[in-house]
Amino acid sequence: MIYFALSKGRLAEKTAKLLERCGIDVSVLQEETRKLVLETADKQFGFFLVKPADVPVYVESGVADLGVAGKDTLLEEDRDLYELLDLGFGKCKLCLAGYPARRSALTGGHLRVATKYIRTAERIFAERGEEAELIKLNGSVELAPVTGLSDVIFDVVETGATLKANGLTVLEEVITGVSARLVANKVSLKLKSAEILPLVEKMREAIG
């Protein structure tokens, strides 16, 4: 059996559709249930539905053989995994955003940055040799510059609608090309290659 860790929500839905196109019966994923481990009828696949940030944890440990997670999550978690495919959906960018008038703050001496991606931000500012005070938030990050909690935010931007509705703009696109990735445990890929490799090929064909 191949165990698959999926992040709850849109990524899981899109992954289910992709797997369906690969000829896998994913009806278990569409049922309303409180079960945490969902197995396909033919016992070929087991699915864990977890929080996005937990997908790399399950896959690195080997509890899950495969997983689907956003590149933003993979960068933030920085786990020892294989990244096998760019699935092409869940596209977005990691940006510094704030009030256009505060653009100068980016080059100022002390920048306050609110973000969910604390480790990624730390790495980026360290590489640049810039000082930044990082404020860890867990959601609604856009609120931080609006309320004065921070100067800017470092967050994923998909359409920019939330930014616009709050008078904020993208000040710098820091990491582009963020999208959903198929990840694999390093040992599973080798010891279950007979099951995993054909599936990866099918997925590669299905995404074109």
């Binding site: 690195e60 440990s61 080997g62 786990r79 090309g177 390093k186 040992v187 080798k190 010891l191």
Partner: protein, 390 residues
């Protein structure tokens, strides 16, 4: 916080699991000894400079540090191979040595779900040895050692850092970009590797070769594909070496245990030739890793070509447990108790059983009922009249 609590990343081993670990250690120690290796032990405390000033420096943020009484910085042994290398380069006169060790290394910031801050390793280093037969012998011995631990379902994955270095040298990247490409290739992350290489303006053929690396794994059939990809002399001679090693391992009967991956490059500096890792079902990270590191001792003042490997004993223990292959506990064969005044007789019987190689137990409680809860094949109660079997 309770003062009896342990810090993060370390653990106690309790009876049962510790017995299983001791059993594995004993089997491996015997295997090492019988196969011509001599045990060594490096000191647990060393100077910080020993590991920070060498070409293959251990990352500062991963070393446990203490201050010595004179203010100099000390570290808890951060790497087993480096310390054995240091011993070989600075203290052993002979050009060749086969050394084995059981040791604990310490990692201040372990990364990942399968790692700890105190890591118990058993390993060997074959110093002063070169050539494909030396590589093959070491890999064969690694397989034998993993079998000795009782692991059932495992493979040893083999690669060669020279192949990656050869392909990388065709790209003409800076040291920083080269390291970034290594990280991407090691993660089989073709998307990021492509972005970086194309951004750096690397030639098309060189980019194509790098992007093939993540899929260059499987059986010996990948060698032909790997050769066709590049004209780099270093890369091609690395494949030639792997072909030799593969032929030897097949002749020695290890074909079913081995596979290849040319995209696994754990470090650009440390290893110089063949690299290998033991992968066991039920364990998400390698249970053994090793390779050839001909330049490692140079920093310690002597060139010593060498190849070796280390097994992570606690990971092996976890894998054995999940596979249902933990060594069975050895039950007490014979248990004794005695009445007051019969201590001498009881003690003599007990020591006699031990010297006969039986696992024995003597209870000091003066009552037959003491033996009731004891699990043992035979039970005796000593009285002033003699031994009475219960």
């Amino acid at each position: 916080m309770a003062f009896t609590k342990l810090p993060a990343g370390v653990r106690d081993l309790l009876p049962g699991e510790c017995a299983a670990l001791c059993d594995i250690r004993e089997r491996l120690a015997r295997k090492f000894r019988m196969s011509g290796f001599e045990p060594v032990e490096s000191a647990t405390l060393e100077y910080y400079d020993t590991y920070s000033r060498i070409a293959n420096a251990v990352a500062q943020e991963r070393m446990f540090k203490l201050a010595d009484t004179d203010g100099r910085l000390l570290v808890l042994r951060p790497d087993a191979t480096l310390s054995v290398s240091r011993i070989a380069a600075t203290k052993l006169g002979a050009p060749r040595a086969r050394l084995s060790y059981f040791t604990h290394k310490f990692d201040l910031q372990p990364s990942g779900e399968n790692s700890a801050r105190e890591i118990e390793q058993a390993g060997v280093e074959c110093l002063g040895e070169e050539g494909a037969f030396s590589d093959a012998l070491t890999i064969a011995f690694a397989i034998e050692c993993l079998k000795e631990t009782g692991l059932a379902d495992f493979v040893v994955e083999i690669g060669h850092v020279g192949y990656f270095k050869g392909i990388l040298s065709e790209c003409g990247l800076s040291g920083k970009d080269a390291e970034a490409v290594r990280v991407h290739v090691n993660a089989k992350d073709g998307v990021s590797a492509r972005n970086l290489l194309e951004g750096a303006g690397v030639r098309k053929e060189a980019v194509r070769a790098v992007l093939e690396l993540p899929s260059l794994f499987g059986g010996a059939e990948i060698f032909a594909r790997a050769e066709a990809l590049t004209a780099s002399a270093q890369a091609r001679s690395s494949i030639a070496r792997l072909r030799e090693v593969n032929a030897l391992l097949c002749k020695m009967g290890y074909e079913k245990y081995i596979c290849y991956d040319l995209g696994t490059v754990r470090s650009l500096g440390y290893y110089s030739g063949v690299v290998f890792a033991g992968l066991a079902r039920e364990m998400g990270a390698p249970v053994m890793s090793g390779g050839r590191y001909d330049g490692l001792a140079d920093d310690f003042g002597k060139h010593v070509p060498a190849v070796g490997f280390a097994m992570g004993l606690r990971r092996i223990l976890v894998a054995l447990e999940r596979q249902g292959n933990l060594p069975a506990p050895v039950p007490v064969a014979v248990a004794f108790a005695c009445e007051e005044g019969a201590e001498e007789a009881a003690y003599r019987a007990f020591t006699q059983a031990v010297s006969q190689g039986k696992r024995a137990l003597l209870l000091p409680g003066y009552g037959r009922e003491d033996l009731r809860g004891v699990e043992a094949a035979e039970k005796y109660f000593a009285t002033k009249k003699g031994l009475e079997r219960l």
